[in-house]
Amino acid sequence: MKAKPAELIISFAVVALGAAVAVGTTRLSGAGGYARIGPNAAPAVVAGGLILLGLWLLYEALSGGWRNALPDSPEARGEHPFHAGAFVWVSVGLFAEMLLIDRAGFVLAQAALFACVARGFGSTRPARDSAIGLALGLGVFLFFVKFLNVNLPAGWLKPILGTAGI
């Protein structure tokens, strides 16, 4: 049986992470104080562990595949095939939020996130979703700012929200 590409990639990624940690560890200072070990001891253990585990995963991947893995066909897992559009829309929502939150403010960022994620999950009513997202964002904003005294950015809505937020 041919090894599965995904399992090989993940195995190599674990080895690579271990190697990267090992390289980083060499730049940390060593033995200090009474303990005779320094801040580099734990990273060294982590690096060694990750490399060993990555090799172990690789061995399993090459000798018949990872043990007790989930079935490859989505149907056998009770799911539908990978829906790229859905994945992308959820990601777009999270990036939109990331870019908007410090500029446009919390409320608009959450509205954008809400609308994009709903779209990703198959909603076909962007206007309704945006409206719900806006209302939810505003409610949470006011609750946090007025009631919990946690500051959230008001951004472009500052003229409307007044003194609330930052």
Binding site: G38, A42, L50, L57, E79, F87, L94, A115, L148
Partner: protein, 495 residues
């Protein structure tokens, strides 16, 4: 014993102040509400609701968390029974019979036996916590860094290697968490590790960001990609909500047996509630007088696992409060809630913060009672929550999840970290790598490192300190055996 009783009464006097009752009540309701949402397990519920408590005093906040902790579990069982989507591995056993009961029009009694069973098991387990904690503390006060380090290694082994479908994948997850734990300023020397000059990383990775990333963002990406286009089937609440006389007769022995099974698994750091729920399911299946009903919705098959789950989760508070060692993802997030207030759980906590600890323990009793009287009458509302369409549901979950991560430092960098952990969570979910070990590794790793270095500082760098201390040596030996024996078995079987 008399002294414990006295302390507990004092705890009640703290937990029963009007404000603290209000916080407990809020916690139970919010916890249940969020816990009912499909795909949201107790760990994520606690992580998402963490920012709500930032301005509370520590006692009030932790009392609220106790409510959230229990509420989330109860809400999760409702979803499991009506929707057959277990939010966490400990609910899988409940799903087996619970959803079948719902299909046969017996959702009411299934929910009732799970609620009352949770109350019975939770209350007995809380009594056991109350009695056991002072005893564990007596012992724990004699522990030095070597013993603590050994216990933490034991917890690492059980959560990563013993449970789950694959030892190597569990350990990989653990080491990933340990790596994330090394990021930031080294607490002993002040040296920065793996921060790459990013100021946000100097403080280290926050457990809430990791948990929300893996559980909420990863889960949302996964469900969107693989099951957002499936038809969902919610079982209707038909017929009586109440259990018949026979239901009672069949349920209560199962509750009690499950409590006996569940509590020890939680209270020795033996990794989560998954094993005891399945053990309880198997026990009930073997002891039942109605074997033909198993596989068609047998009430014992719901009563047992649910009670075992609650007993084990409550038992997990013993190592968490007395040793500062979390044994589940939820406990790990609770530990980070403690740390946010500058409180490090451990034997000394019972002396330095007696009000807080005993107030918290007393609030566990109150939380159980609140759940029982609130939830059965309110079950109609929780069922309504389940009918929220999937797109709005997940959009809402992400709004709250990202809010929690953002409000920690008001930083968009945390949102980027969150997305990266989301991708990681997606990969781990798809290729069956458990996420709980990573979360426990992140929070417990730095603590274990500190204890290790302290032990070596005392012994002047002599590694044999871990062998010379009998308790530390024994615990380390057991951990090693737990890891090695299954491997040897596998090799022998192959020959």
């Amino acid at each position: 014993m008399a002294e414990t009783f006295h302390l507990l009464l004092h705890g009640f006097s703290i937990a029963l102040t009007p404000f603290n009752i209000l916080w407990g009540f809020t916690g139970v309701v919010l916890g249940t509400f969020i816990g009912v949402l499909p795909g949201v397990g107790p760990a994520l519920t606690v992580a998402m609701l963490l920012p709500l408590t930032v301005k509370l005093d520590p006692t009030g906040a932790l009392i609220m968390f106790a409510g959230i902790y229990y509420g989330a579990m109860y809400g999760g069982s409702t979803t499991t029974i009506l929707l057959n989507t277990p939010g966490e591995s400990a609910s899988i056993a409940t799903a087996l019979e619970g959803n079948l009961m719902a299909k046969n029009g017996r959702a009411g009694p299934a929910l009732a036996t799970s609620a009352i069973g949770s109350f019975v098991a939770g209350t007995i387990a809380t009594v056991l916590v109350t009695m056991l904690a002072p005893l564990v503390i007596e012992v724990a006060l004699k522990f030095g860094p070597a013993e603590y380090f050994a216990l933490m290694v034991f917890a690492f082994t059980t959560v990563s290697a013993v449970i789950g479908s694959s030892t190597v994948r569990g350990l990989t997850s653990l080491f990933l968490g340990l790596f994330l734990g090394t990021i930031g300023i080294d607490s002993q020397t002040g040296q920065s590790r793996f921060a790459f000059g990013v100021p946000e990383l100097l403080d280290g990775i926050d457990v809430v960001v990791l948990a929300v990333g893996l559980f909420a963002v990863g889960e949302a990406l996964y469900v969107a990609a693989y099951s957002s286009r499936l038809e969902e089937k919610i079982e209707q609440l038909k017929g009586s909500l109440w259990m018949s006389k026979e239901d009672w007769k069949r349920s209560w022995p199962a509750w009690l047996r499950a409590t006996v099974i569940g509590f020890p698994f939680g209270s020795i750091p033996a990794g989560g509630a998954e094993i005891p729920t399945f053990l309880s399911y198997a026990t009930e299946r073997k002891l039942t007088k109605y074997p033909q009903e198993f596989g068609n919705g047998a009430i014992e098959g719901v009563a047992g696992p649910e009670a075992a789950n609650n007993a084990s989760v409550t038992g997990a508070l013993v190592p968490l409060l007395t040793l500062g060692i979390p044994t589940s993802a939820t406990a790990a997030i609770l530990l980070s809630a403690f740390q946010n207030y500058g409180i490090q759980p451990g034997p000394l906590l019972f002396q330095s913060q007696a009000d807080l600890v005993w107030g918290l323990i007393a609030s566990l009793y109150i939380g159980n009672v609140l759940l029982l009287i609130l939830n059965l009458p309110l079950v109609g509302i929780w069922v309504k929550v389940l009918t929220i369409p999937l797109p709005l549901l997940y959009a809402g979950i992400l709004v709250f999840a990202t809010l929690g991560a953002y409000s920690l430092h008001q930083s968009a960098v945390d949102l980027l970290t969150l997305y990266i952990f989301g991708l990681l969570g997606f990969v781990m979910r798809r290729w069956d790598i458990p996420v709980a070990p990573a979360i426990i590794g992140l929070i417990l790793g730095p603590l274990a490192e500190t204890q290790f270095r302290r032990a070596l500082a005392i012994s002047q760098g002599d590694l044999s300190v871990f062998i010379k201390q009998p308790i530390a040596a024994a615990v380390l030996a057991v951990s090693a055996l737990l890891l090695i024996i299954p491997l040897v078995f596998r090799l022998v079987r192959r020959v």
